[in-house]
Each structure stands twice: as C-alpha cells, then as structure tokens.
C-alpha cells in the first residue's frame, strides 16, 4: 500500500488554477522528492495532502486513510513541516515541543524524553531558554522538523525542509531523514534544489503549472542525463541570449 496516494487533486484560487489534477503514489519506505519551480503548486499540493487546504476536487490517502473523510486517523500517522507558516513562536523550543506533544495527546513522560532527545540531536539544547521568535531561520526549520517527528509518524511531509538552512544543519537533517527512511518511514519533501534531490531521493516527481510533468524513480527520471537538464526542459525555462539588459 502506498504511504501517500493523491487522486486527481484540484485547487483553484479565484480564477487561477493552482493545481490541475495531481495523481501521485508515494510507495512506503521511499524517499520522495517533489520538484518544481516557484509557483508550480508544490505547497498547495502538499497542503491538500495533509488536510490543511480543502481541495476543490480529488482525494488524498495516508496509509489507506482518507485525509478529508477520516482526518483523525490520517493525521495521527503523518508528521508535517509546513513552509512559511508561523509557529507559536513566543514559546521556547522545549515548550513548543511539549505543546505539540500534548496537542497530539501524548503522555508527559514520553513528551519529556523525546523532546530532550530531539533538542540534543538537532543542536537546539543550548538555546533552551530562547523564544522561537528569536531563533534564526535555520533553527526554526529544525524545531519545526522536531515538532513533525515528535509523535513518531509513519509518513513525513516536508515543505522546503532545506530552505535557508546552513550546510552543517542541512547535513544533519539529511542524516536524520536517512535514518528515518532506513527504519521503515516514508519521506516526501518539496524542493527546487537539484543537488539535494539527487543526493537523497529514491523517487522524483516534477511538478510545473499545477500538473505532474514526469514521475518515477530517480534513475528513470534522469535517464542518464543531469537532473537539472531534465528539470529545465520539463519546466520549459528560457536561457539568456545576451541581448537583454544591455544597460546593466
């Protein structure tokens, strides 16, 4: 059974169609990269997949549970790192983790132990007294990831997890995610950074203009070429001719 299955997801904002019928199967145990340029509909798709944004049409299934018909069971099984979303940032990192754990109905002992572990591993234990609002962008990503991992979900949905993260933290996050997939978890994340995707992913889907352009294992999609080349071709980008901006 697919860890995450999307069926004909559609979302329209006013007159603009942001997502025009996305079908996707994320196999259990895969490390799935959702690639796309800015404005391709990555965040919209993932939001609909985890129950944050109601689709105009289509359905999403997490390990067989319909996200929109049976949200409680589906949400229990996913951890989500949204992008560009505020956290309850006037709490410290530890408080935020405790808060997230209690919201999910975990018991105190488990929350305390896991929060300590996560803060240690992610190198946030030293900032135990700082409010999240005063964290750097990279630290905010890390505490967001910790919140997503806290209840040990079977599926991780990460929106731009490597955006504005420094190389050291990025390596750390990669390690953690690798170990998570090895332990039987599934990860799907969005990105527009080819290097990260090539290094990490077993499967890739390229999304542009709200539709899946190509999908498959990393090797299938690359077909012996450079991933960036494939990407630019799929997305239909333009290259500079040298004539423009002559006044620069």
């Amino acid at each position: 059974m697919a860890a995450l299955a999307l069926r004909g997801l559609v979302k329209r904002f006013d007159t603009k169609i942001a997502v025009a019928g996305v079908d996707l199967d994320v196999p259990a145990g895969s490390f799935y990269g959702l690639l796309g340029p800015n404005g391709a509909g990555k965040t919209t798709t993932l939001s609909m997949a985890v129950g944050l944004l109601r689709p105009d049409a289509g359905a999403a299934f997490v390990l067989g549970h319909n996200v929109w018909a049976d949200p409680v069971e589906a949400k229990r099984r996913i951890g989500v790192l949204p992008d560009g979303v505020r956290m309850f940032d006037r709490l410290s990192g530890a408080e935020l983790l405790a808060y997230t754990g209690l919201l999910r109905g975990m018991d105190t002992a488990a929350v305390d132990a896991r929060a300590r572990d996560l803060l240690d591993v992610l190198g946030l234990a030293d900032s135990g007294r700082t409010l999240v609002v005063d964290y750097s962008a990279g630290m905010k990503k890390k505490i967001g990831l910790a919140c997503a991992l806290l209840h040990a979900p079977r599926l991780l949905v990460l929106d731009e997890p490597f955006e504005s993260v420094d190389p050291v933290s990025a390596a750390l996050i990669r390690d953690i995610l690798h170990r998570y997939v090895h332990g039987g978890g599934t990860v799907i994340f969005s990105s527009h950074v080819m290097e990260v995707v090539e290094k990490l992913c077993t499967h890739v889907a390229i999304l542009a203009d709200g539709a899946i352009k190509t999908v498959g294992t990393l090797d299938q999609v690359r077909a012996g070429r450079d991933l960036e080349e494939v990407f630019v071709e799929m997305v239909g980008g333009r290259t500079a001719t040298g004539q423009e901006l002559s006044w620069l």
Partner: protein
C-alpha cells in the same frame, strides 16, 4: 507596495524626484481597489460602512443646522462640545476599539529613499482617504452651514463662514494626526516590555478622561429641564475652557470672527496649528522607529525554567495544580501566557480591560452626579457591569487571527473543536475575570452600595459567558486575518474592519442573550435574598451559555478548520 511607489514616482530617466503627497493617496486608492477585486462581500461590507458613515454625517449636519436657530451661546456650546467629541473620538477610539487603518504600512517604505518628513506628509494625506475621515468632514461641515445661517446677514458673515470652514478642516486634520501619532506611539510603548506597564497606565488615564466629559454632558442634559439658564451657564463655562484647548479651539473660530475678535481667533488657530505641528513632529519620529523596529518587534527575553522537563516548562507553576497535561491544558497554558507575551493581544487586552474598568466608574459618577440615586443608578450599574463582561468575552471574537497561521499546528494535530474553544475561553477567563471582579468590587464600594455585589457578580458571569458563546460562534464563522505588522493597533482596511463591525453586532447579540439575567437583576436585585439568587442564576446562565456556544461553534470548527486557517493567514 514599495515597488508601486517606485513606479509611481519614477520618471523616464530613472532619476528620482521626491514623491508628492498625491502619490501616496493614489497608492492607497489603488490598494483599496485591489483589495476589493474578486471579494464581493468586501464590497458589500464597504458599502454598508459607507451608508453608516453617510447616515451619521447626515444626522450631524441636521443637528448643527438646527442649532443655528438657537441663541449664539447655545451654538457656541454645541460647537465646542461637538468639536471636543470629534477630536477626542479620533484620538481614543482607535486605541480602545477599532485600531487604525494601516493599508500603507510604514515598514514597507524602509528601503526607499524617501525623506522622513515627506513620508510623514504622504502617509497623512493617505490617512484622509477613508470612510471615517470623509464622514467626519461631511458631518462637521454642518458647522459651516450653521455659521452661514447664523451670520449670513451679519457684517462679518462671509469671514465667519470662511473661519468655520478653516476650523472644520484644521479640526479634522488634528484628529487624523492625533489618531496616527497616539497609536504609533503606544504601539512602540507596548512593544517594549520595559515600559508596557507605564503604557497601560497612560491608556487608563486617557480613557478615564472620557469620564468627566461624559459626566458634564449628562449632567447638563439631565438638569437642562430643571433650570435651563443655570445649566447653560455651567455648560458655557466648560465650553469656554474647552475652547482654549486644541480639542475645541478650531471649531469655535466663527464665533470669534463674527464678533470681530481677530486676536482671539488668531490665538485659537495658532493653538490648533501648533498642536498639529507638534503631533506631526512626534509622529514622524515614531514612523522611523516603526520602519526599523519590525525586525526587533518581539525582542528577546530569556525564558526561565529550563532544565526541568519540557512539559513542566510549558505549564507554569501557578497553573500546575489546576491544569492537567492534556491538549486542553496545553492550550490553556499557552493562551493565558500569550495574552501577555504577544504585543497585539496585550494591546487589546489592556485597552478592553481599561475600558471595562472606566465605563462602570464613569456611569456611576454620571448617575450620582445627576443626584438620582435609586433605581436609575442601579440600572446604570447593571448596564456597566454587563458591558464589562461582554467586552471581556468579546476579546475572543477573532481569536484565531492573533497567531496568524500558527493555527496550522492545531489543525495538523487534529485538536477537537470543543476542546480548542473551551481551552481558549478558560484562558481568557483566567486573565480577564480577576480584573473585572476587582472592578465590580471597587465600583460598589465607591458608590457605597456593597449590597449590589452579588447582583453585579451574577451579571458579570452571565454577560461574560454569553459573550464567550457569541465570540466562539463569530470567530469560527467570520475570522479575518490581522496584518503582520509592528503596530498592534493596525487593522486591514476594507474587509478586516468590515468584519470587525460584525463584532459590534455580536456585542449587541450578547446583550440580548444576557437580557434575561438583567431582567432578573432588576426584579430581584432589591432584596438581599434576591441578590444572591441573581448571583446563582447569573453563574448558571453564563456557564450554560459558554458551554452551549462552544459546543455549537466547536462542531462548526471541526468542519471548517481549513477554511478558518485560510481566513486568518495574512495575505502578502
């Protein structure tokens, strides 16, 4: 937005000229128009606001015209009191209730090479664009009409009409500048943790300045029927004093001019213009800090209590006995802290609590000033306590917007709607009710009527519970995003303020819901046993209303959670 200014100001050569005030006005009009695009309900709400403004302005014009036929003294008093109300209203109302329209956010101009004074002038010009300013202008133009009718045939008639016009324009300018200056100064104060308590006190003093004014007017009106001449003399004395303050100075100009007292008129105009200049100078200073202050908005304060478990750190020691580590407990603990930690919440909390403290005291003064103890003052007390409870509960009318889209975390965790709303209600009760209890005790002691205490508590409980219910339903059905802005008093123009008006409807709804207890208080409150009965009824009624309201709204929230999230997510 910044780019739009650049576009508006750029010339073909690319070399800059300084933007003129007109450019800011155009930018604001453009922003308003774009805000309406594809949002039919916003247009509807705007039209309603416009009609309301027209109605109020029309009433004012009518009132002023009628006053033209009365004696010059009455006209003078009306002009002075009305002018004071206009200027005070512009200064205080944004602080206490509605906030200021920050369609043009000064922070967006931080990167543009616009000189400070030009920016301030442009922002001011843009501030005039809006229904409140237009309605005020239209309404007070009744003073010009009145001057025309009164002095039309007189020797200096034309000059008096001209003076009236100058007074109306400068008066409006003063009001608009004052509203900007005061809100942005308080925004800065409330942002800094060091002086926020001082800011609270200043707001209290400002708000309590409504009290004496109200007392004066009520006393004048109530005694008017008894001895007309005496009350007019008293009102005249007050108006004389007011006319030398910037509050009324611009509005009494035509009376000086008509009598040929040019020196007096000049002095009053100087007072007005001087105040405007001083406020402009002050405001342009705070604009600068608002421009650079965004990044440091929520300055760091280390949180104590690390080292122990994470859960123990989340739930403060004071709450640990009461609150269990569940979703309910977590939300209650976080909410009760955020009411004080978050600048925007703090601003509304402080102003509402102060208003709910000042209102009963002012009403009490007014009724005792009118020397009409007994049933009327009792009714005034009931009304004031009910208003206090209502405003406390109404803090939750847009409860999901305070944290922007942080509500995502609750949605992802699948928090049950009822738990969510009840925890939030419990938190605001924890924060606001103790203050209101103190207020009720203080008012009864000041008025020398401690026997009213049980009745007061009963009505407080009933109105607070009813307001929680109304606010829960409203917050789920009509949430709206607050701008991500350094100014805690800022609201979005158009849609936001229109939905803010809905809170007014809910406020009236709450008063209606708590009416049975008010009636019970009036019927039973006079005897001691009856008073205790009112307390019991009020507590039961308020609790039942809050439980029922959150039950219904919780159900809706579980179905509409994603829609609420979209609604409170600020648009960039």
């Amino acid at each position: 937005m910044a780019l739009a200014v650049e576009a508006a100001t750029a010339t073909t050569t690319g070399a800059g000229r300084d933007p003129r005030a007109w450019d800011f006005v155009r930018l604001k009009l453009r922003l308003l128009r774009n805000g309406f695009r594809g949002q039919a309900w916003r247009v509807v709400a705007f039209v309603f606001g416009l009609l309301f403004g027209l109605w109020a302005a029309g009433l004012a014009v009518l009132g002023f015209s009628v006053s033209a036929d009365a004696s010059p003294d009455v006209g003078f008093v009306v002009a002075a009191f009305a002018g004071t109300a206009v200027v005070l209203g512009w200064t205080l109302v944004p602080l206490l209730f509605f906030g200021v329209d920050e369609t043009l956010d000064p922070a967006r101009f931080a990167l543009l090479p616009v000189p400070r004074m030009i920016l301030a002038r442009g922002m001011l010009a843009a501030a005039f664009v809006g229904v409140p300013a237009a309605a005020t202008m239209l309404g007070t133009s009744g003073l010009v009409l009145a001057a025309g009718r009164r002095f039309g045939e007189a020797e200096l008639g034309a000059a008096a009409v001209g003076a009236a016009f100058v007074g109306v324009v400068t008066g409006l300018t003063l009001g608009v500048v004052a509203s900007r200056a005061v809100t942005s100064a308080f925004a800065a104060l409330l942002r800094s943790r060091r002086v926020r308590d001082l800011a609270a006190v200043i707001i209290a003093v400002l708000a309590s300045s409504i009290g004496p004014l109200q007392w004066a007017i009520t006393a004048a009106v109530q005694q008017g029927s008894l001895d007309q001449q005496g009350s007019l003399d008293r009102a005249m004395r007050i108006a004389e004093v007011l006319s030398w303050t910037p509050l009324a100075a611009p509005y009494v100009l035509p009376y000086d001019v008509a009598e040929g007292q040019w020196a007096v008129a000049g002095l009053r105009l100087a007072i007005t213009l001087g105040t405007i200049a001083a406020l402009m100078w002050w405001w342009s200073g705070t604009i600068e800090s608002a421009m650079i202050g965004v990044a440091t908005g929520g300055a760091a304060k280390p949180v104590k209590g690390a080292g122990t478990g994470a859960v123990a750190a989340l739930i403060p020691r004071a709450l640990r006995g009461v609150v269990r580590p569940t979703a309910f407990g977590a939300i209650l603990a976080r909410e009760s802290r955020f009411w004080w930690r978050d600048a925007r919440r703090r601003a509304s909390l402080v102003s509402i609590l102060m208003a709910s403290a000042v209102l009963p005291i002012a009403l009490n003064l007014a009724s005792s000033g009118a020397a009409s103890r007994g049933r009327t003052s009792e009714l005034g007390f009931s009304f004031a306590v009910t208003m206090a409870g209502t405003m406390g509960g109404m803090l939750l009318a847009n409860q999901f917007a305070f944290d922007g889209n942080a509500y995502t975390a609750h949605l992802l965790a699948g928090v049950p709607g009822r738990v969510e709303l009840r925890a939030r209600a419990a938190a605001i009760a924890l924060v606001a009710v103790p203050v209101q209890v103190v207020v009720v005790v203080a008012v009864t002691l000041l008025a020398g009527t401690p026997e009213q205490l049980p009745t007061g508590f009963g009505m407080l409980a009933a109105s607070f519970g009813s307001a929680i219910a109304a606010a829960a339903v409203l917050s789920v059905l009509a949430p709206y995003a607050l701008p991500e802005n350094a100014n805690p008093f800022a609201i979005n123009s158009g849609g936001g303020s229109a939905k803010g008006m809905l809170a007014l409807v809910a406020l009236i709804g709450t008063l209606v819901i708590s009416m049975p207890v008010l009636v019970a208080a009036f019927l039973l409150g006079s005897s001691a046993a009856g008073a205790w009965l009112v307390l019991a009824i009020g507590l039961a009624y308020g609790t039942a209303a809050a439980l029922l309201g959150t039950y219904i709204a919780g159900d809706v929230l579980e179905r509409r959670g994603p829609e609420v999230l979209v609604a409170v997510t600020p648009r960039r």
